[in-house]
Symmetry: none
Subunit: 227 residues, 2 copies
DNA sequence: TCCACGATATAAATCATACTCATCGCATCA
DNA sequence: TGATGCGATGAGTATGATTTATATCGTGGA
């Protein structure tokens, strides 16, 4: 489902927004400062951003400007939220590249409608190349893995192995099957190779390493929390 | 230049719209009835439509609905213009597929801004040929690259390579993919050519050169600062 | 001057070996 | 019947040799 980031320092408002969006089937994450927002943005690009113009640490218009310069976020749909209902504010916001704006106070229905409309426009089901299991996030575009938000350096084989396990989270995968998929069908010789890589993976994943469970006599499985 | 169709039966309003849009460099065509509009639409699809909700012969919401069903006009940007400022009208219009709306009376500046914003969104008139990643600015019009404001002299291949990496900042790009794109699909023979250019790029970019990261076994990626 | 290529150097990842540890089934014994 | 111990098998770990990928350099052609 679509993830919507809400950047808003007024909790009363962010709660209304978050609540109503969740009710409509969206996932939400609330940030009270631009700093927090950037931090998470680096890890995962949302489907849409609701951005307040007035923030404690940075001006909303300035944020939009920056986001539009970065290819990563250039096309990210942004709805600006402003309390100042003057025309010039709107103009500035739109010209910098916000896709739409909302003026406080706004009705919940209007919020939902605009979000829907904008998602439909940009929507086209932005292919999600990210997988998250527990505290582990795998971003295939960046070829990077994050545990609790911190990047985790993996070698290629380790990465492939983890990716396979994550894509099949909750399903036991046989040793031979793993070898076939990650090492190639022609892999020869029985050795401790797979075990070795499992080991280093567990090690590098740290606390989250325990998610990789051994199923004796069969293979491995990545727990997805649901028992 | 972009052609904008104005569908509006009130001449006072259509004239204001037409005049201000022309002043801003757009071509316009005014239609007083849905019938006229359809007729011309069959001949030429405009870049954008300003559509009044209340028309003598057909309801504006209904028109949008029809336009969205026709593949020809499905993605044509539409701004609904309505005198009825109630929330439900907005909701209906947006949910049916209008991209934006204006409530009468509206300011000329707001009209222009919304048109601009919508055109930008729909991909027209994107003139922003500059990309900035970290301290590196690439200006495609000048064919120049600046690091920390100071110009950085690059050869053509180096420039092309950097441009590709910057446009795909934050996404790993495979070696073959880079070779295909920068050197051409027919590039033969595995040699150290790509590495060479990466090296000189890193060197010339100086401090910012470290933004180009090697992803072993895969290719290269330009970090976009957000860790 | 820029670029491609090949030779060589450097760095890193991968794998095989040898070993240790854990688990399970089974037989024996109380 | 249940507890205990033993051995077999499967899995985990450490290490260093080997393989592979990338970086760098020098040469010569366009």
């Amino acid at each position: 489902m679509s993830m919507i980031y809400i950047v808003e320092d007024d909790r009363n408002i962010s709660e209304i927004e978050s609540f109503s969006l969740r009710n409509s089937g969206y996932e939400t994450a609330v940030f009270e400062t631009a700093g927090d927002f950037y931090e998470t943005l680096a890890v995962k690009i949302p489907s849409l951003v609701l951005l307040d113009v007035m923030l404690p640490d940075e001006d909303g218009l300035h944020i939009v400007e920056k986001l539009r310069k970065d290819p990563q976020t250039q096309k990210m749909p942004i709805i600006m939220v402003t309390a100042r209902g003057t025309e010039m504010d709107k103009v500035k916001g739109l010209d910098l590249g916000a896709d739409d704006y909302l003026t406080k106070p706004f009705g919940v229905m209007e919020l939902i409608s605009r979000v829907k409309a904008l998602l439909r426009r940009s929507g086209e089901a932005r292919e999600d190349r990210q997988v998250t299991i527990g505290d582990v996030l795998l971003d295939d575009e960046r070829h990077a893995v994050y545990v609790d938000g911190a990047q985790c350096e993996l070698t290629h084989k380790e990465y492939e192995l983890l990716k396979m396990l994550m894509l099949r989270a909750g399903i036991v995968t046989g040793r031979t099957e793993i070898l076939d998929q990650v090492w190639g069908t022609d892999f020869q010789g029985e050795s401790r190779t797979l075990d070795m890589h499992i080991k280093t993976l567990r090690q590098k994943l740290g606390r989250a390493g325990s998610m990789i469970r051994t199923v004796r006599n069969v293979g491995y499985i990545l727990d997805n929390g649901m028992e």
